[in-house]
């Protein structure tokens, strides 16, 4: 059987992705940060971000997507797991039981009140873990296609 090459380069997609990409990444961060009060969160944000990078892959090629991410997606998974696990520890320092949420309210002069917390840290961990996992699978498959 003749191997079919994977080629989806199209001008429309290419141009569209250049405009869409920053928006998608911003949107994923937006989803991540507002997740605690409105629909969103680390998981959803992570999926959006991963989809953004995948868009780059389809619009250009594997190498461009790899360069855009800079690091290997498995490293993102590792960092995500570490952050999520770290979020469980501060409670022990103040003598509460494992994984109890800790909140620190910081007053910033212009932006107003900033809510920092271990759930946020945890959600960032989930965010990175999801991006890393999806992109590992996508990249691995694309790479297998590439070679």
């Amino acid at each position: 059987m003749k191997p079919r090459r994977f080629n989806m380069r199209s001008l429309i997609l290419n141009t569209g992705s250049t405009l869409l990409l920053p928006l998608l990444v911003l949107f994923s961060l937006f989803l991540l940060l507002r997740g605690h009060d409105e629909p969103g969160g680390g998981f959803i944000g992570g999926l959006v971000a991963a989809a953004a990078v995948a868009l780059k892959l389809f619009a250009e090629d594997y190498k461009a997507a790899r360069d855009m991410l800079r690091v290997h997606p498995l490293q993102l998974v590792g960092v995500g797991l570490v952050l999520a696990a770290l979020a469980s520890l501060p409670a022990l320092l103040v003598g509460q039981s494992f994984f109890t949420a800790q909140w620190w309210l910081v007053d910033l002069p212009i932006f107003g009140e900033l809510k920092l917390s271990t759930p946020l840290l945890f959600d960032i961990g989930v965010f990175l873990g999801v991006i890393g996992t999806v992109l590992t699978v996508v990249f691995t498959l694309a790479e297998a296609e590439h070679s």
Binding site: M1, H36, P39, A51, A54, V77, F99, D123, V130, T133
Partner: protein, 797 residues
């Protein structure tokens, strides 16, 4: 107390650095810790020898009533002193014995880790923590036995020891749980104080399970085979684990639980019988062996059998005999094992047949070996004699099988004398023969341990009250459950035990004279070993792996359809069975309040599912599945689960992306399945769908307990500081679940990565692979060079 136990583990973490720092003397450096611990435990002696008990408790899992609590009484203190005392000598000895070994640092880690686990085991007051330490000794000893992991034999033997003891450990855990439930507490001190448990309905199963654990650990017949095999370990390890500490853990536990579980008919019969059989089997096999360490290992099996038998008899005398014999054995066996190591280290001798006449070149070693062997043989005035007299007295006053046990003990003693004679005479006297290394007395680091232990055997023999009043009476009282009033003395007068000792001495020396002949007469054992427990063990292991590979081949044969059939079939059977058991299945089916657009979505869902099955193109099928997923997402949104809806949409999008990537790898669309297969698949799919629908309807209409969603809805604001309940649940209320899930995600990522790269052969090699390839290439190059050289030389001549 906590610090005392943990310090070993802490030091273990830093051992490799300290080893680099200490260089040649690293053994001495590290041995400061056991020495300090010995002094600490010795400082507790005055209080404990008065019959006092010290308890220390630290909360660990307060919710599960598990606390890290320690109990120091005569028995645990005796063990703690042995562990730290002999541990000191072993560290000093091991540092020199393995000097220059590339992984000496690792040796220290495991040895110190083992020491800590062993201390924890004997000092624990809580059954659960005792069990944890018990398993830790198993794991660390596995590492130590397999220390020379480049040798396949060492790996195999380590594995064998691990399997046997872990199997026992499982039984032990079950037994412990029963014991804790029966006694109403997991604290040993409470259990021991609450009197005997022999009348409890769980008594027999609990006893059998605990004994299975102790018998495997303490190498009782038929589990005795792993102990001599564990001699694959470096000699310092054998000297420590297989003489004084680990194998005695089982004995310790039986002694510890004797006041609660002992005294029943079952206890008496099982322990005396297995103990006596192990005693005779062990010493018989020892008398046949010729390898230095093997002889000692089998005689250790004999000692463990003797101790089990004494604990089984359970009289006051037997309790005292057991602790006395235990101390005597630890002293002389530790010394003898270290001498076995010296023989190997300084003369290259591993087998008694290869050594003779070494006394001239190794005078000090000879004296120490003779001193320790005399104690082993039980000759006055050494401490072994005291132990042996008490043993005989205990057996003679046994409540059952007096004659049988006495004869067994006598036979064992005769052969013990033989073994002692081999150890004391064979390598040192007679004509001098060539040894692999030039024999010489070793460095002080190697000699100090055996010498001091052997001299202690003499000191305690001459002044038994020193050991007796110091610790042994207190230890015996802890075993017996009541204060023991008999004192220790060297001379018991001319009585039956003395006569038995003298006759065993004479017969033993006669046997030594005809040792070669004895081995010849008993060579039938070589055939018998083909049916022995070790062969049964190997058969079982082989059977297990065969079964495992058959099962894997059947269940995981690589066809996705088979996986699906198995999974769905299991679900159908289990869920169907559960649903059938519900007597009144109330299905609340009500179409009245369904809106038109909801009907439309459902119609869309059904339609896309049907089309997905019917179409004859991968891309179309994927698109249809996507439509199905988006339809479900719409439903979520209409039922105001926005988060779930968004997630569903995104997951669908990415699934379609992934499938598109994969599609190009697939062969062209073809029909391969027969109609019968399709009908079967349709039936399975139909039943699964139906069952799930019924299940969900049944669950929603038959909810009995109040749901937890109200709690989450009310508390996500005040407790979780968030208005999005779904997110608060994910990252706060059930954060531990989410953590587990993202770990699973990571595993999936690694799995996909490895699987695809492995297939394309692009997986980066590990460092060890690289190193192996490098050494292989270099050796090939060197070989080629050598060949060329040889060829040139050949041509030249």
């Amino acid at each position: 107390m906590l610090i005392a136990v943990l310090s070993c583990f802490i030091l273990a973490c830093f051992a490799p650095w300290l080893h680099r720092l200490g260089g040649r003397q690293s053994g001495w450096l590290l041995s400061v810790l056991p020495a300090a611990l010995f002094v600490y435990f010795a400082s507790l002696l005055p209080e404990v020898s008065q019959g006092g008990q010290l308890q220390f408790a630290y909360p660990w899992f307060p919710g599960l009533q598990i606390q890290l609590s320690f109990l120091v009484d005569g028995l645990s203190l005796l063990f703690a002193l042995l562990i730290t005392g002999i541990g000191f000598f072993i560290l000093v000895y091991g540092g020199r014995y393995l000097e220059g070994h590339q992984s000496l640092g690792r040796f220290y880690i495991f040895l110190l880790g083992f020491m800590g686990s062993m201390l924890g085991l004997v000092l624990s007051d809580n059954l659960i923590s005792l069990f944890v330490f018990w398993e830790l000794t198993t794991v660390t000893s596995f590492m130590l036995i397999g220390f020379n992991h480049e040798q396949e034999d060492a790996r195999k033997k380590a594995h064998q020891g691990l399997m046997v003891t872990v199997m026992g450990g499982l039984a032990l855990m079950t037994g412990f749980i029963m014991l804790g439930l029966a006694a109403g507490s997991f604290e040993l001190s409470t259990i021991l104080a609450s009197g005997t448990l022999t009348e409890h309905s769980l008594y027999l199963p609990m006893l059998l399970l605990i004994l299975l654990g102790t018998f495997t650990k303490s190498a009782q017949t038929p589990f005795h085979f792993w102990l001599p095999n564990a001699m694959a370990a470096p000699t310092p390890v054998s000297a420590y684990l297989h003489s004084a500490t680990m194998v005695k853990a089982g004995v310790y536990l039986m002694a510890r639980l004797h006041p609660s579980l002992g005294g029943s008919e079952a206890w008496l019969l099982i322990l005396s019988l297995f103990g006596a059989v192990t005693m005779v089997t062990g010493i018989f096999l020892a008398s046949r062996a010729t390898g230095v360490k093997r002889v000692l290992a089998y005689s250790t099996v004999m000692a463990l059998g003797t101790l089990t038998m004494l604990l089984g008899l359970g009289t006051e005398k037997a309790a005292l005999a057991a602790v006395t014999f235990l101390l005597a054995h630890a002293l002389y066996k530790g010394a003898l094992f270290m001498i076995a190591g010296i023989l190997d280290h300084s003369a290259g001798v591993k087998d008694f047949r290869d050594a003779s006449g070494l006394r001239a070149s190794m005078p000090i070693t000879t004296v120490v070996a003779i001193l320790a062997s005399l104690s082993l043989a039980g000759i006055i005035p050494l401490f072994g004699f005291v132990g042996k007299e008490l043993l005989l007295e205990a057996v003679l006053t046994a409540s059952i099988w007096q004659i049988g046990l006495t004869i067994a003990t006598l036979v064992a003693n005769i052969m013990v004398v033989l073994v002692a004679a081999i150890m004391a005479l064979k390598p040192w006297f007679g004509p001098q023969i060539e040894t692999p290394k030039k024999p010489h007395d070793p460095n002080v680091a190697l000699l100090v341990g055996p010498a001091l232990l052997a001299v202690l055997g003499l000191v305690f023999g001459l002044a038994p009250a020193l050991a007796g009043n110091g610790i042994l009476t207190a230890a015996a009282s802890a075993v017996y459950g009541q204060p023991v009033t008999i004192g220790l003395s060297l001379w018991h007068g001319i009585n039956l035990p003395l006569m038995l000792t003298i006759s065993s001495l004479i017969f033993g020396l006669i046997m030594y004279r005809f040792w070669a002949g004895w081995r010849h007469i008993t060579r039938f054992m070589q055939t018998a070993e083909k049916f022995g427990p070790e062969v049964i063990y190997e058969r079982l292991m082989l059977g297990m792996t065969t079964f495992a590979s058959w099962q894997t081949k059947t269940l995981q044969n690589g066809y996705l359809r088979n996986y699906l059939i198995t999974t769905l079939g299991t679900v159908i059977i289990i869920v169907g069975w559960a649903l059938l058991r519900v007597n009144q299945l109330e299905l609340d089916i009500n179409f009245s309040d369904i809106k038109v657009h909801e009907f439309a979505i459902v119609a869309l869902l059904i339609l896309s599912a049907i089309i997905a099955v019917m179409v004859r193109s991968f891309l179309a099928a994927v698109a249809m599945l996507g439509a199905l997923g988006f339809g479900v997402a719409l439903l979520y949104v209409f039922f105001s689960a926005v988060d779930v809806g968004i997630t569903q949409v995104l997951v669908e999008t990415i699934t379609v992306l992934l499938l598109v990537l994969v599609l190009y790898r697939l062969p062209e669309f073809r029909s391969l399945s027969s109609s019968a297969n399709r009908i079967r698949d349709a039936i399975i799919a139909g039943i699964t769908g139906l069952l799930m629908t019924v299940l969900i309807l049944a669950i929603t209409s038959a909810r009995q307990l109040e749901g937890i969603s109200d709690y989450f809805l009310q508390n996500s604001g005040p407790l979780g500081h968030g208005r999005n309940v779904v997110n608060v649940i994910l990252v706060d209320f059930r954060a531990l679940d989410t953590l587990g899930e993202i770990f699973v995600l990571a595993l999936v990522a690694i799995g996909v990565y490895a699987m695809i790269h492995l297939r394309t052969g692009a997986l980066p090699v590990t460092n060890s692979d690289r190193r192996a390839a490098f050494t292989f290439r270099r050796s090939q190059k060197e070989k080629m060079k050598a060949d060329e050289q040889a060829q040139k030389e050949g041509e030249a001549s």
